[in-house]
């Protein structure tokens, strides 16, 4: 598979603030890739560099095999973008805006446009200024998905949508993914990313700290185990794969490294199991792990930390 997005050691500074500090990101063709990180981590900056709106101060970025800065206009023919905060022209109606953006790209599929308007339940006759945040976002979403782009860059596209529309959005993304198109979905709605994305990159302070499929990421982290045993067990707390062990009589609650799961479950089985649940970590827990220290400094206890 070829890389549709490829950045290496990408650096971007705004005055004294370093927004990106050597960011490596790789998205292959046909992938729906989750881009996770809290506000200010550098998600939007990365996307804007990929769109040639900002010039990188260091490192390289390739988009569909070309340089996103010098070949921006040609590249954009093959890209659709939805910003997180959509601003519209107060004097243009939503329908006009969608048409203009489509025509700039070289024409718009009228039936696709009308179909999307219906699915997103959007009135195209309203003027830009009278739309709410969610409706402004829908205008940008319809404009993007009505195009026949190969790559969709979506920057927190559902932040203003209600749950019904978020479900429509998920469906539409699945459809374009099924057509073999590539999607970079920046988000902090974990359930959305979990539902849509095969691969995920977690960004922190301008760096990608973890990237991989959800299965891979889960493999390197801990599962949550709750068990009720038939007789007490000793020495479990000394096992190096077991963390945060809480014992309440015969009831146990602990986290276990995926690599140690085999061994620990065997020990439990020896003691006899009355009941057992073993949950792989949710994406949210994975995510929080990388931000454990920040949460701690903000005064939030981190259940997953050491």
């Amino acid at each position: 598979m070829t890389a549709v997005i490829h950045t290496e050691k990408l650096v971007k500074r705004f005055g004294h603030v370093t927004a990106l500090d050597g960011l490596d990101l790789e998205v292959s063709e046909g992938q729906t890739h989750g881009f996770l990180g809290p506000n200010g981590a550098g998600k939007s900056t990365t996307i804007r560099i990929l769109l040639g709106m900002l010039r990188a101060d260091g490192g390289t970025a390739r988009l569909l095999g070309s340089d996103p800065w010098s070949e921006a206009a040609e590249l954009h023919r093959r890209i659709a973008y939805v910003p997180g905060d959509v601003a519209l022209w107060p004097s243009l109606s939503g329908g006009e805006t969608i048409d203009v953006l489509g025509r700039l790209r070289g024409g718009i599929d009228k039936s696709k446009r009308d179909q999307l308007l219906e699915r997103f339940d959007l009135d195209p006759r309203k003027k830009g200024r009278s739309y709410s945040k969610g409706n402004r976002q829908k205008v940008a979403l319809v404009a993007a998905f009505a195009s026949d782009a190969e790559l969709f860059l979506l920057d927190e596209p559902t932040s203003g949508l209600d749950p019904l529309m978020a479900a429509v959005f998920n469906e539409v993304v699945r459809e374009v993914a099924a057509e073999g198109k590539t999607v970079l979905l920046s988000s902090h709605v974990m359930s959305e990313v979990e539902a849509l994305c095969e691969k995920v990159s977690i960004i922190r302070k301008g760096l990608v700290v973890e990237t991989g499929t959800l299965a891979e990421m889960r493999h390197f982290s801990r599962s949550e185990v709750r068990a009720t045993l038939k007789k007490p067990i000793r020495g479990l707390g000394d096992h190096e794969g077991v963390h945060n062990l809480k014992e309440d009589g015969l009831e146990l609650h602990f986290q276990v490294d995926s690599g140690a799961l085999d061994d620990v479950l065997t020990q439990l089985a020896v003691a006899g199991i009355a009941s057992l649940t073993c949950e792989p970590p949710s994406l949210e827990e994975l995510f929080l792990r990388y931000y454990g220290d920040e949460l701690a400094s903000a005064g939030v206890p981190n259940g997953n930390g050491d």
């Binding site: 769109l51 910003p83 329908g95 700039l104 790209r105 195209p124 003027k127």
Partner: protein, 553 residues
């Protein structure tokens, strides 16, 4: 107990009501506009101080001032300065001449300041969610408007005081006269604040309310021109229709000086403020009095390129430029025929002096009007460039920059549109002046000459617009940098002779190189050089637009 609380809260409601929180908002408004206010205070008071000092250097001798009335006492020139009564007292003191020459232009700029101030504090806040946050606090429905009005009134008085002090000490400028001159500025500023306070209730958008304010300014300027052109030394009744006319009718520093027009301003402003307060409670939050119609569900076939979109978004500026220049040039054209009148009444020997000085009075007046028209045209070009910046920081450009549009298309397409807007304005101005001017001179053969006098300013106008584009490309955050050259060039071009500005200081202005046709002969070389400079600036601007980061949010 419960009734007592209710009683107390009703008392409180009764005491503060819809104005609750005005004091706090006033401090907040003052805090956020301090740079704006200080900049305008410094600019207006500074301009007055500098020109007052310079004028003293040129016209300290009473006889030189009396002599100058020969050129100034024509309907045409009066329309650009003020009513003739001042001219009768040029010999009395320098301050009279100063007030006559300055009061229209200086109060005009003051009006611009207050239109922008009120819009930015009221409608612009309402357009975004800023005011929504404020209204959700325990403040009254009218408090934000009241705070804006209070700030405008206080700023007006402060400005008046500063302007008064800046001319104090000039020959003939006693304390009373200087304060009258200064407070005439305050009166104009506060009146336009009141007009704009009403306009923001009517308009849906801040751009519309600014446009309404500037239309009122244009009407006031035209009435002042018409009123001053009249032969009556106190000006015709038209002066009473213009806030600028009221300022001119104070006759500051002359023996006839009077505070009555300032009181008229105060009454009118109070009535308008009352109207604005009545209207603000009658309309819904975020809406104007005029409701907005639904738009088209699909774009028209013309709206299919980035240039077409940029044009659609800025065509209002083109219309504003066309209408303004048409009105401005035709009213100057109407008085053009009178420029020479007094010449006929002069002894022949004196007439020769004039002709030797270069051209007839009509011709030198024509050159001056063409210059003023060109300045006005530049304003509209710069407004279009300003739109480009607004699109960028407003985040709307993000959708375009993400499309297959090169930087030369967005924001680059705003340069040709700005050029077209400014050029059409110059053309309309020249045509209006030529048509009305030739008929007022009762000689159709002047048509071509007048048209040429206007059109030769095009290359200099292009330089100004291209320079603004360079600023957009290289120093986008410094929006004021686009306007500074225009102010400088206006002062150098319009007041340059009056204050005897050194040649080196004038050489910066592109208009300095435009031949003063028809007084001088046509010389094409400087025009070609100016056009080349404009082209070079445009290329440099495009380079800047191409290489810099775009700044959204």
């Amino acid at each position: 107990m419960a009734t007592a609380t209710a009683e107390r809260s009703r008392l409180k409601e009764g005491r503060l009501g819809t104005l609750a929180g005005t004091g706090k908002l006033l401090r907040f408004h003052a805090r956020r506009t301090r740079v704006f206010l200080i900049g305008w205070f410094a600019g207006l008071a500074g301009m007055n101080a500098v020109i007052a000092a310079s004028l003293a250097g040129v016209y300290s001798d009473p006889s030189s001032r009396i002599e100058s009335t020969a050129t100034y006492d024509t309907p045409a020139i009066r329309s650009m300065t003020g009513p003739g009564l001042y001219l009768d007292h040029y010999g009395d003191s320098l301050a009279v001449m100063y007030a006559h020459q300055m009061i229209l232009w200086s109060t005009l700029m003051t009006a611009v300041m207050f239109i922008l101030l009120i819009t930015r504090l009221t409608r612009a806040d309402e357009e975004t969610s800023r005011l929504e946050v404020i209204r959700s606090l325990p403040v009254g429905r009218r408090a934000d408007l009241a705070a804006a009005v209070w700030l405008a009134v206080l700023a007006g008085l402060a400005l008046g005081l500063l302007v008064g002090l800046s001319v104090l000490g000039m020959d003939g400028a006693d304390f009373g006269g200087a304060m009258l001159y200064g407070l005439a500025h305050a009166a104009v500023g506060i009146t336009f604040a009141a007009i704009t306070a009403v306009a923001v209730q009517i308009a849906n958008y801040s751009s519309t309310s600014n446009a309404l304010g500037f239309s009122a300014l244009g009407f006031g300027a035209l009435m002042s021109m018409a009123g001053s052109a009249a032969e009556d030394p106190e000006g015709s009744a038209a002066l009473w229709l213009s806030p600028f006319g009221w300022a001119q009718k104070t006759f500051a520093f002359t023996p006839e000086q009077t505070w009555t027009p300032v009181l008229v301003s105060a009454v009118v402003a109070a009535a308008l403020f009352w109207l604005a307060f009545a209207l603000v409670a009658k309309r819904d939050f975020g809406q104007g009095l005029r409701s907005s119609r639904p738009g088209r569900s699909a774009a028209g076939s013309g709206l299919s390129s980035i240039g077409a979109l940029s044009f659609r978004l800025s065509r209002g500026v083109l219309w504003a430029g066309t209408i303004t220049l048409l009105l401005l040039s035709s009213s100057y054209g109407a008085v053009l025929g009178s420029a020479d009148d007094f010449l006929d009444s002069m002894p022949e020997a004196q007439q020769e002096v004039f002709d030797q000085a270069g051209g007839t009075v009509t011709e030198s007046f024509l050159a001056t009007i063409s210059l003023v028209d060109a300045f006005a045209a530049v304003i509209f070009g710069l407004l279009v460039i300003g739109r480009a910046r607004k699109e960028e920081v407003g985040g709307r450009g993000e959708l375009l920059a993400a499309g297959p549009v090169p930087r030369s298309g967005w924001p680059g397409s705003y340069l040709p549109i700005a050029m077209i807007t400014a050029s059409v304005s110059v053309l309309v101005g020249a045509l209006g002046l030529a048509t009305v001017g030739a008929s007022s001179l009762e000689d159709g053969s002047y048509f071509g000459e007048i048209l040429t006098a206007g059109l030769i300013h095009l290359p200099a106008v292009w330089v100004m617009v291209a320079f603004a584009f360079v600023c957009l490309g290289w120093l986008p955050r410094a929006g004021w940098l686009r306007w500074l050259p225009l102010v400088y060039v206006f002062v150098a071009g319009y007041f340059g002779d009056l204050i005897d500005l050194p040649q080196a200081a004038r050489a910066v202005s592109p208009f300095e190189y435009v031949p003063s046709y028809p007084v001088d002969d046509l010389d094409w070389l400087p025009l070609i050089v100016l056009a080349a400079v404009a082209a070079a600036l445009a290329a440099f601007g495009y380079a800047g637009v191409r290489r810099r980061d775009l700044q959204f949010d």
